[in-house]
Symmetry: C2
Subunit: 477 residues, 2 copies
């Protein structure tokens, strides 16, 4: 192949890879001469060849542009290559979540709250304000454990609830997810036993898998939460290192543990010297009069790492969370320092600025009201459109509903069918290591419902009805 | 203890923990009545008690404020508790890095370039611009693998060097550090052997330790880089899974591998089917005429994960990096999805906006010129002030100098002594699993030098002279 043909082929490769897309201006002849070390004549030849093949369009006085795409020239993204590999739980979860990225899908399966509920404008104002007033050197102040003003603001929110947490115990993280992962890693070694709820937040299962820990799933009731008798039995039978729980507005079930149960939980874990990793990202979204305390409030032995974030109640895209890690804070800091170094400083500063405007409480009140009323009305609509064989478990707080199909039906099957109709749901299999909850699914009720969503609810209802009939027919055979 | 005494004690606890600092306005009586569920009288009593103890100051018509701190009321930050624990390499590195956070320390040991060299104003303009123009829903577009415009902009920079990398192969990460960690995790299992350079970037050692991998350190020359014969011997003797190298402006030594050596490196790794994790964060800071290619440019088997970032050449606080991971991209995405979820969306968008202004190249040219001239002149100053027993290794590109003390001296010892004088250096021990380089240290030359820095160089010279004399005396005994 001649030099100009090689160059032309390279440009075709780049177009097929998506580096340049139809309509993009390609590098000028002069630029290519510099970077490729070929002559003007050679580069010119390459472009003429591409033009003659209809791959580029020459615009006089302007340059060469990528031609509109013909159907047989589709790029082959790398991500398609691996889709046929063996599916494990992570791949399954990842696929369900990736489906949610498609804006045409109705996101009942999403874990995120409707971002339109967030104070986008005020946050931007804070971002603009801080970026205008901070110096280039401020980066250093935001290294682990994170910006001191932000840690202090978080400590004060604990203080509002009567909890005394030093800013020194708090590490700022990339959302609660990094906080939870670092906490788990700080207190375990590969091979250790860790207790989780069944069902639990799927990231707990993923984190355990990633850190090569062994999971003990404890039966967890949709209204009452974790079964403390089963928990104690597990603590007796296994050398458990840590326990990862959600105590307020649990995901996916929605319950909030009573104060008495939180007290008993802590007493139990203290007795067996087991660290509690408390995932508490939804407590700002409580529906009642007072914000529920975390279990950490009952902990007098500094054995709870309390993880939370602003992602569910203020802004998800900033990726700002934290852990109140007590004596484990230095280890958590070190682990962060080794893995992501730190959280981005403009994001930390913008949240400090926003919190200082004092409009946070007002925003939260409005958010709680909206989420609460949406959950109620969506619950009613679902009741209307789903067959009565489906149980809808209603819990106050948060923005999830937990639904149960008849036991012989598979919610993963339902999920596949609804996704084919452009509707995502979150099937029980995502939240459990066992098959006990494969007939359940979670619905996100944070989004505003219109006609499209109500039609989607009807569609789900029809699919379930057909699944019920089919299962009856196959039962008769 | 009575109720009002309990409340007063809680407020004292919070003040001692640093939740409230001297001068802070404390919660109003009304707020405390609401949150503590005590009566107005009780809360009032508590504040009177604190006032009588001199802990708070009452300001009429305004509220209660924390009194100035008396010396015996110092808070006891948690981080002090663990300082006496057994020191491992990570704790050592962490301490050296934490010392750099103190703005009074002269940061010769820092790994960061002088942030004043970054286009702070233009970046802020981009941040302001994007925050004004993006919708709340943009968050979804920035989930792993990251914003498509940013991935495309990065793919185009590869294309400028003649490399064809699809945006689909690129995952946006929290700096290169997350990219490297995720890459390493994507291609290894705990217990696997991984090759690193000796000396190498200390985060490589930390990452290996964190992921419970086994390190094989290969002798690496200050000018020529890794010893390929030693590398091949290691590949023959051990079942090596991956090789983590810096090919351009290596940290800490500063060399750039020749194109021929990169080609041979790739040929060797291809022969033994070993994945290359290429840490290439400094290649934009080359000093010569053309940006050096990464070793990945010679890779035809898709076995190189190329990691880089904007942290060393544009802005460190944003924490935006990437990996061009080829066929490993889906696994890297999944691992990110499990550990930090994603990179913050305003940071990604601001960099896209900045890159679109086309001032990046101009900034880079200026940055390279400044770094290059500072390195030269600081090298000369050091030459003048350090005893001639110290060898200064000069390499083009990047902003580090590598210095060698006489072999019997310990640079960690020197580091302790200079730190006591308010000067940090980065001792060889940070970059190596062996003791072979304990007499070496790294100096950051990116900062502007004035009188203070020159005096610091003199101080280092004097300390070294004294160490040489002491070692001679003890040698005579």
């Amino acid at each position: 192949m001649k030099k100009y043909q090689q160059l032309a082929q390279k440009l075709i490769d780049q177009i097929e890879l998506g580096v340049w897309i139809p309509g993009d201006k390609l590098p000028s002849i002069r630029e290519l001469v510099t970077t490729s070390e070929m002559s003007f004549v050679t580069v010119g030849h390459a472009y003429h060849l591409l033009e003659s093949q209809g791959r580029v369009i020459a615009r006089p006085q302007s340059g060469y542009y990528v031609a509109p795409k013909a159907d047989n020239l589709k790029p082959h993204p790398v991500s398609q290559v691996n889709q046929d590999e063996a599916v494990d739980i992570n791949t399954y979860i990842f696929e369900v979540m990736q489906a949610g990225k498609d804006p045409s899908i109705i996101p009942f399966g999403s874990g995120f709250p409707d971002p339109l509920l967030f104070p986008h404008q005020q946050l931007n104002r804070s971002l603009v304000h801080t970026s205008k007033t901070t110096s280039a050197l401020s980066v250093i102040n935001n290294l682990p454990p994170g910006n001191i003003d932000l840690r202090q603001a978080i400590a004060r929110r604990y203080a509002q609830q009567g909890m005394s947490i030093s800013p020194e115990e708090i590490v700022i993280t990339a959302g609660a997810l990094e906080a939870l992962n670092l906490s788990l890693q700080a207190v375990t070694e590969p091979g250790d036993w860790v207790i989780v709820e069944n069902p639990c937040f799927y990231n707990a299962l993923q984190a355990l898998e990633r850190l090569r820990l062994r999971a003990l799933s404890i039966a967890t009731d949709v209204d009452e939460g974790i079964n403390l008798e089963a928990l104690e039995q597990a603590l007796i039978d296994y050398p458990v290192k840590a326990c990862w729980l959600m105590t307020n507005c649990q995901n996916p079930l929605g319950f909030t543990l009573s104060p008495e149960k939180k007290r008993r939980l802590i007493a139990l874990l203290t007795k067996y010297k087991v660290v509690l990793i408390e995932d508490d990202v939804y407590s700002e979204l409580y529906a009642g009069r007072d914000k529920p305390l975390p279990a950490k409030a009952w902990d007098t032995e500094d054995m709870t790492l309390h993880c939370s974030s602003f992602s569910k109640c203020l802004v998800s895209g900033f990726r700002i969370g934290w852990v109140a890690a007590g004596k484990h804070a230095p280890r958590v800091q070190q682990l962060q320092f080794m893995s992501t170094l730190s959280t981005s400083s403009p994001m930390q500063l913008a949240i400090v600025d926003y919190l200082a405007t004092r409009s946070y409480e007002q925003h939260l009140r409005k958010l709680r009201r909206t989420l609460s009323s949406r959950k109620k009305s969506i619950g009613q609509i679902l009741q209307r459109h789903l067959p009565r064989e489906v149980s809808i478990h209603y819990n106050e707080g948060g923005y999830f509903l937990w639904l149960e199909l008849p036991r012989n039906l598979d919610a993963s099957e339902l999920s596949k069918k609804t996704l084919a109709q452009g509707i995502s749901i979150a099937p029980g299999k995502m939240f459990s290591t066992s098959d006990l909850l494969s007939h359940c699914f979670r619905i996100n009720t944070s989004w505003e419902w219109g006609e499209k969503e109500e039609t989607a609810a009807k569609t789900i209802g029809e699919i379930i009805r057909r699944m019920i009939i089919q299962s009856q027919l196959s039962g008769q055979v």
